[in-house]
């Protein structure tokens, strides 16, 4: 009794009822993709549509030099969570988006939206973290902006960072470059960041030996690229590894098969996900990337990743096959099922 039917990821799904923005639009899943595809790209993408390429960063050419350019907004609540805070996150997140294009991140901007009443001490701590994170990532913050909004409008503070970096000659990385036969790697255990943040959120607090995995991945990526033909790189942030795999499959028009038991997850993260009824494959990360690598270089790239402190648990988790675009998961029991893109956020399964 086998199920040969492919799940049509392009099933026409009507926009949700109502004409307002929903929280799900920010989750990194299908609703986000819809918003980008149906509202942003058609209106904003100019000729050449680098925007439509939907990479982690845009690649633009200025006077013969390839630059990677990216922006990211950080609205995490609470702003302080185990292991880190919104400041460090905002620097690493943008640094990583640049690194995912193979670029050397160079300069950052930061725009802060502060809520009236935010303790200055908290702001000071965030800013200090940003400075430290820039130092560690080897980037310079060169410009910024500050706005204050009324109490109740900003959940403490929001941070938007933009970044620019240079892509060395010969480096060609993009979401559309996966081919059948390629190997899929993840650079570290998944789900740690999302669970660490959730462990502080009121209503579902628990004491956990968990910290966010936020980290600048520039050196890790550089080592991986030097070791072999890395064809795609994606920062597995909101929406988790499952969403990234779907995005890559879609962009490259290939199928990807992942092996559930090969995907690394820290023990406490798994336990937290069990308790809350979450699937770690959909939980946000801030220090994990997915790489699609030419098969002959897979072992070398894996070894290079493992030699880096942020890649010590790197693992080969799957392979790329012929299209049409879809992601399949081989489960612990040996059955294979589609790993779909979620529409919005997972809600903790309670009852």
């Amino acid at each position: 009794m086998s199920d040969d039917h492919e799940f049509a990821l392009r099933c026409p799904v009507p926009l949700p009822p109502g004409d307002t923005v929903l929280l799900g639009h920010g989750s990194g899943g299908k609703l986000t993709a819809q918003l980008i595809r149906d509202l942003f790209v058609p209106v904003l993408a100019g000729d050449g549509s680098e925007l439509a390429r939907l990479g982690d960063a845009a690649v633009v050419v200025v006077n013969g030099t390839r630059l990677a350019f990216t922006t990211d907004a950080f609205v995490v609540a609470p702003a302080f969570f185990p292991g880190s805070n919104i400041g460090e996150l905002s620097v690493n997140g943008t640094v990583n988006d640049l690194a995912m294009m193979g670029a050397t991140p160079l300069f950052l901007s930061a725009a802060l939206i502060l809520e009236e009443g935010l303790p200055l001490r908290d702001l000071g701590e965030v800013v200090a973290s940003m400075a430290e994170a820039c130092r560690r990532a080897g980037v310079t913050l060169v410009t910024g902006d500050t706005k204050v909004v009324e109490r109740g409008s900003a959940d403490g503070l929001f941070v938007t960072t933009s970044g620019v970096g240079v892509i060395p000659d010969g480096v060609e990385i993009g979401p559309e470059r996966a081919r059948p036969g390629d190997v899929v790697l993840v650079s570290g255990p998944v789900g740690s960041h999302g669970v660490a943040v959730m462990s502080r959120r009121a209503g579902i607090e628990f004491e956990a030996k968990l910290v966010s995995d936020t980290a600048p991945l520039t050196d890790l990526v550089r080592a991986m690229i030097a070791a072999g033909d890395v064809r795609c790189l994606r920062d597995a942030t909101r929406g988790g590894v499952a969403s990234v795999l779907n995005e890559l499959a879609e962009a490259s028009s290939v199928s990807i098969t992942a092996v559930e038991t090969d995907i690394p997850v820290l023990g406490p993260v798994r336990a937290a996900c069990e308790m809350l009824g979450l699937d770690p494959l959909y939980v946000a990360n801030e220090g994990v990337c997915v790489a699609i690598v030419a098969p002959e270089d897979a072992e070398a790239v894996l070894a290079a990743a493992r030699a880096n402190p942020h890649g010590e648990h790197a693992a080969i988790v799957g392979s790329v096959g012929e299209g049409p675009p879809r992601v399949l998961l081989r489960t612990g029991l040996g059955a294979t099922r589609p790993l779909i893109m979620l529409a919005g956020d997972q809600l903790p399964r309670i009852c």
Binding site: H5, E274, P338
Partner: protein, 368 residues
């Protein structure tokens, strides 16, 4: 994780599958009652790995799915009040009411809070003495003890601004209702393990006798489910109809007496409407007289007016009693998806429709 991981062992699972194949000689239809069991079965692909003779149909064991539409509407109405805070388990938030769901109400400014435990809701009440905190008390017998304790504590500690919106449902009457319904094909049941951890299995013994069906109290991990299926199939092949216990590590025959006592102190049985199915007599719980001042339905009486209205297309009722599979529904995956659900089973993570969808099951063409 101990007592979890070892019940996911692939080799044991395969061994059980082989034994099931060796044991079965004719077609049998089994129902797993609990949504959590459905979830595991579909995610692990067990229904596709079982021999073709065994058909699994999915039961109404998703309390979120069977909560009456009118109560969802009422929860939303309460949430919108400025003098109330609505606390709820996470997956109630996306269940469609007549015109919206709690998530949308929250987006529009209603104070709706997700909690993990009813005691958390009690804490919210303590911290917000100027508003009434209503906890949406959804669940089967497993959850009743927790909800009972919360309201008992409220009474004992004098927390007057705490109330329950009660939507409790009971499993044995639902199983009996399925067995008497015309056209029932279910020949054996995997009984819900955690309901039985609380209640024991004495209530199922008369059902096994009267209807001559095997019931196996079963856990929630792949190995548990396969072992439960094996035990049920053995009974069927041997013509037996008993209540057996697969979930020995967590369930005893009489259950948790302390929990049952507090439930009996706080709640009494009543008739209950199951969304999509209809009224099943004596299949629900409501607060007893002594606790009625913590009853949200009395504190916030429903205004008459627009009657609750369901989608005409949704076939949740037939799915919940095992008469249809989600992937055969004409709206499955097209008009009805987790982000645009027509009915509760597509949005509850224990609902059968959601289990199918999230595991990527495609829509099947069904010949009439």
């Amino acid at each position: 994780m101990r007592f979890v991981d070892e019940y996911r062992n692939e080799r044991i699972a395969r061994g059980l599958l082989e034994e099931i194949s060796r044991t079965v000689t004719r077609p049998w239809t089994l129902m797993e009652v609990c949504g959590g069991q459905t979830h595991t079965l579909i995610r692990a692909g067990i229904d596709q790995l079982l021999p073709a003779e065994i058909e699994l149909v999915h039961g109404p064991g998703c309390p979120v799915c069977v909560t009456p539409l009118a109560l969802i509407d009422e929860a939303i109405a309460i949430a919108k009040r400025s003098d109330a805070i609505l606390c709820s388990f996470g997956d109630m938030l996306r269940v469609p009411g007549s015109s919206e769901d709690l998530f949308m109400a929250r987006a529009a400014g209603a104070d709706v809070r997700i909690v993990y435990s009813p005691l958390d809701a009690l804490e919210v009440a303590r911290r917000n003495p100027d508003r009434t905190v209503v906890f949406f008390a959804v669940g089967f017998e497993t959850t009743a003890p927790a909800n009972a304790m919360a309201v008992k504590q409220a009474k004992e500690l004098g927390i007057e601004n705490f109330a329950l919106l009660v939507a409790h449902v009971l499993v044995p009457p639902a199983i009996a209702a399925i067995l008497v319904s015309p056209g029932n094909r279910v020949q054996g049941f995997l009984a819900p393990g955690h309901v039985c951890a609380v209640q024991g299995w004495t209530e199922y013994e008369p059902i096994a006798r009267e209807f001559h069906v095997p019931l196996v109290v079963t856990g929630f991990e792949p190995v548990d489910l396969l072992e439960g299926i094996l035990m049920a199939v053995r009974q069927l092949e041997e013509g037996r109809a008993e209540v057996e216990n697969q979930y020995v590590r967590a369930v005893g025959r009489t259950g948790n007496l302390a929990a049952q006592a507090v439930v009996a102190e706080v709640f009494e049985t009543c008739d209950r409407a199951w969304r999509g199915i209809g009224v099943i007599p004596k299949s629900g719980l409501r607060l007893r007289e002594a606790y009625r001042d913590h009853d949200a339905e009395l504190l916030f009486p429903r205004e008459g007016g627009v009657p609750a209205s369901e989608s005409e297309i949704c076939i949740a009722g037939t799915v919940l009693v095992g008469r249809a599979k989600p992937d055969a529904c004409p709206a499955y995956g097209t008009l009805c998806t987790p982000e645009t659900p027509l009915g509760a089973p597509m949005v509850s993570s224990e609902g059968a429709c959601a289990a199918y969808f999230l595991a990527g099951r495609a829509r099947r063409e069904v010949s009439s």
